[in-house]
Amino acid sequence: MPFIPHTDEDVTQMLAAIGAPSIDALFDEIPTALRSGKLTQVPEAMTEMEISRLMHERADLDGRQLNFIGAGAYEHHIPAAVWQITTRGEFYSAYTPYQAEASQGTLQLIYEYQTMMASLTGMDVSNASLYDGGSALAEAVLMAVRAHKGAMRVLMPKTVSPLYRAVVRAMVKNQHIELVELDYDPASGMTVVPTTDMGDFAALVIPQPNFFGVLEDVDALTDWAHAHGGRVIALTNPTSLALLKAPGQWGTAGADIAVGDGQPLGAPLSNGGPYYGFMTCKQALVRQMPGRIVGRTVDLEGKQGFTLTLQAREQHIRRSKATSNICTNQGLVVTASTIYMSLLGPEGLKRVAATSHANTRSLLAQLCAIAGVTQAFSGHGFHEAVVQLDRPVAPVLAALQAQGILGGHDLSADYPELGNALLICATETKTAADLQCYAQQLGLALSK
């Protein structure tokens, strides 16, 4: 029996001890009318060898192309040690560290993770992670509204990922929170600092880099929001923070909450998950934070140890008055990320960020040299950029795909005002030959 160790002899002895005639008899409190028959849509069992064959066949169908898509999920080199250690049974098959003394490995790792994320974002404290970047942004919106205790409005630039905005809408719409869109400057691709009265708002979301890959004027936006009584939620790519000013240093006072997707730090693209959302904030907001938090303390002999703390915020204690319904985090992916950041260190992460930036600039220059391709925005970028084509994007992407290239993310549905716009990304994983190959194939596709 797959994954069940019982021998017939065991079953006989156990039933005798219970005093039941059969296993079926153990279900005698379930009304007979409710008992279901055979499962009809579940096939017969496969052995490990058989399922292995099937999954290899399926995996061989997938993910074979040279990828230039970013748009929130980024292909980076992941050192071999990262997932080999992460999938050790002691990390893989443990649960939430409720018994702290028997979970010091996971707890210390999360404390180290919190330290790294707080430092990367320039904030005071971090939680142990949320589900993904989109849901982390939604939790930050809820947190800012809770902390403001008045305004139910949050300013949300159009330069925030359309998918992130969709997640936020889905998660806050039943709590009467209004999301007010902010426009961007069509020339630079940067969010316009409002000049008219926006009324009371709990927070302004500032994406850096924004969804177009463009760098926002974070200092001016931060100071504007604070001057108008709102908090600042920074939405950032953690890799970029090896190069870019940390949210805690934005403007005069710094952002109040920083969130984003941790995927670039050691999680494979993997069809979109599992990734994780990070969240850091100023000390003053720590009791408003959702999710698990690990603290350092001492044991009864005075020795350093780690434990879950501030649990009075959480659903298993506060029930309907909790800061969120969140229960689990994305522990295993955080484990991978912590090992990734430890292996890369400050210099390695900076090189990853700088090489990705330089590769994207190089690709952009090569593409814009092709007739029919122009750069959409004048603003500085990190490792993504928008180009506009002289014809619809979809058939061009299809032609590139036929050559084994995923040419980018088509923006025409979400940003029709940009025309035939394509978001491209070249991380450190792309060689000079890869970039040339893309430019050459795009040139061919546009010459027809």
Partner: protein
């Protein structure tokens, strides 16, 4: 020692990073970082050794019996991990065209179909990333359903007082108020209280069955009728689905919407606290509101249904496709179990729980609901022990760590004083259960003979009992260089 204490200036794992730094002189200084972030500066071996050693400070299913009630800590088959991490699956970008992901999408479609069958629901969305998110999606669908009918006075969710804390917290996130109803002496919902609670304000009832008290709610057919007659919908919290897998379908019990915890019932790793996966199943009337994406099959090709395909959807739970890699592990597990294997899960989970209950009862432990069958888990209460010796459920739990067992869930459900919620799961052998009973008996004897010994536990772990009060009062959440 923390990883930061292994750091030395200018030490680095050079093989893991790009060989040279690239030119960034085009970026204006005012946008650039001036300080160096506090990341470790360590060699590859330093990092490998540090985290390998940390892992060894954990209890886990792979190393210990882990009878943590309501968490279903069953064995996580290794093949599920290695096959879900094949390069083709890991390399695919979530925005890549469907034609480049037919292997993954086929697996997801088949997983949806299997989950529909085991739950008896009309549709399944794999989008929610954890049980609590599945709950959120489920209650949001209940709200969307009532709102779509103009039935907007329904603003209250009923929750038994034995429910998981996520239930009331979720209802509030969906803009509902919460009404708790009591549980009777047998562990079932108090039907009279339920009848008094329902009305035109009732949006729905959230119920776990078997309940968090470890017993099957016998009156489920009456409950179903009371809630539906009042115009409310029934939500099934799938936390305890392992107890009835292949034996009772929540759809047949009259539930309108359910979430499943694949990290419990379908054996995906708990990972030190996630990632989980919390797919939702819905009855026909809730199909229009399912969270996106949902996988569909058209002309032998698979693709994702998104907002435009399901116009009344409650929306998106994640920016991408939920915890796709976790879902793949669940799919592989389901295929290795097959139909027969799924029936056996609930059979042997129930056999193990009832056997352990009986053996612990014989050993002198007080069972919280002694007249009831255990489902896949059961509760013992140490109230008498606490009164007589001062040894609490927490002390008892800590002492179990010294004997090499992860503790059961403590102090949940809150209805039962000094309780241990014990869930052995189907993957544990009789010998393991017998050895656990011996440890429990030994600690019981210690508690009467030398209570201070138990109160001081644990003694064998990397640290002794930790000061939680200090942790909360003197917050130390990030390391700072001395």
């Amino acid at each position: 020692m923390l990883i930061f204490e292994h750091s030395r200036p200018n030490r680095a794992a050079h093989a893991q990073m790009p060989a040279l730094s690239a030119d960034i002189s085009d970026l204006p200084t005012n946008l650039l970082r001036q300080d160096v972030p506090l990341l470790p500066q360590a060699s590859e071996m330093d990092v490998v050794r540090h985290y390998t050693r940390l892992s060894q400070k954990n209890f886990s299913i792979d190393t210990q019996f882990y009878p943590l009630g309501s968490c279903t800590m069953k064995y996580n088959p290794r093949a599920c991990n290695s096959l879900a991490m094949l390069p083709g699956f890991l390399a695919r970008h979530p925005f890549a065209p469907a034609s480049t992901g037919q292997g993954y999408l086929a697996s997801m479609y088949e997983l949806q179909e299997m989950l529909k069958d085991v739950t008896g629901m009309a549709g399944v969305s794999l989008a929610p990333m954890a049980g609590a998110q599945g709950e959120f999606a489920g209650v949001a669908m209940i709200r969307a359903y009532h709102d779509s009918r103009g039935d907007t006075a329904r603003r209250e969710i009923i929750v038994p007082n034995a429910a998981h804390g996520t239930n009331p917290a979720t209802a509030v996130m969906c803009g509902y108020t919460v009404r708790e109803i009591p549980t009777d002496k047998e562990g079932d919902v108090d039907l009279e209280a339920l009848k008094a609670a329902v009305g035109p304000h009732t949006a729905g009832l959230m119920l776990t069955n078997p309940s968090t008290l470890g017993v099957f709610e016998k009156q489920i057919q009456d409950i179903q009728k009371i809630v539906h007659d009042a115009g409310g919908l029934l939500y099934y919290d799938g936390a305890n689905l392992n107890a009835i897998l292949g034996r009772v379908k929540p759809g047949d019990m009259g539930f309108d919407v359910i979430h499943m915890n694949l990290h419990k019932t379908f054996s995906t790793p708990h990972g030190g606290g996630g990632p989980g996966a919390g797919p939702v199943g819905v009855a026909t009337r809730l199909l229009p509101f399912m969270p996106v994406p949902v996988v569909t099959k058209e002309n032998d090709q698979y693709r994702l249904l998104v907002e435009g395909d399901i116009p009344a959807t409650i929306g998106r739970m994640s920016a991408n496709n939920g915890n796709a890699g976790v879902l793949l592990r669940a799919y592989i597990y389901a295929r290795m179990l097959g139909a027969e294997g799924m029936h056996r899960v609930s059979e042997f989970a129930t056999l193990n729980a009832n056997y352990l209950l009986k053996e612990l009862q014989q050993a002198g432990f007080d069972i919280a609901f002694p007249t009831r069958r255990a489902s896949h888990e059961f509760i013992i209460t140490l109230k008498k022990l606490k009164d007589e010796t001062g040894v609490s459920a927490m002390d008892f739990a800590k002492r179990l760590l010294d004997y090499g067992y992860h503790a059961p869930t403590t102090y949940f459900p809150m209805l039962v004083p000094e309780c241990l919620l014990i869930e052995p799961t189907e993957t544990e052998s009789k010998e393991t259960l017998d050895a656990f009973v011996v440890a429990m008996k030994t600690i019981l004897a210690e508690a009467y003979a030398t209570p201070e010994l138990v109160k001081g536990a644990p003694y064998t772990q990397p640290v002794r009992r930790l000061d939680d009060v200090k942790a909360a009062r003197e917050l130390d959440l990030v390391w700072r260089q001395a």
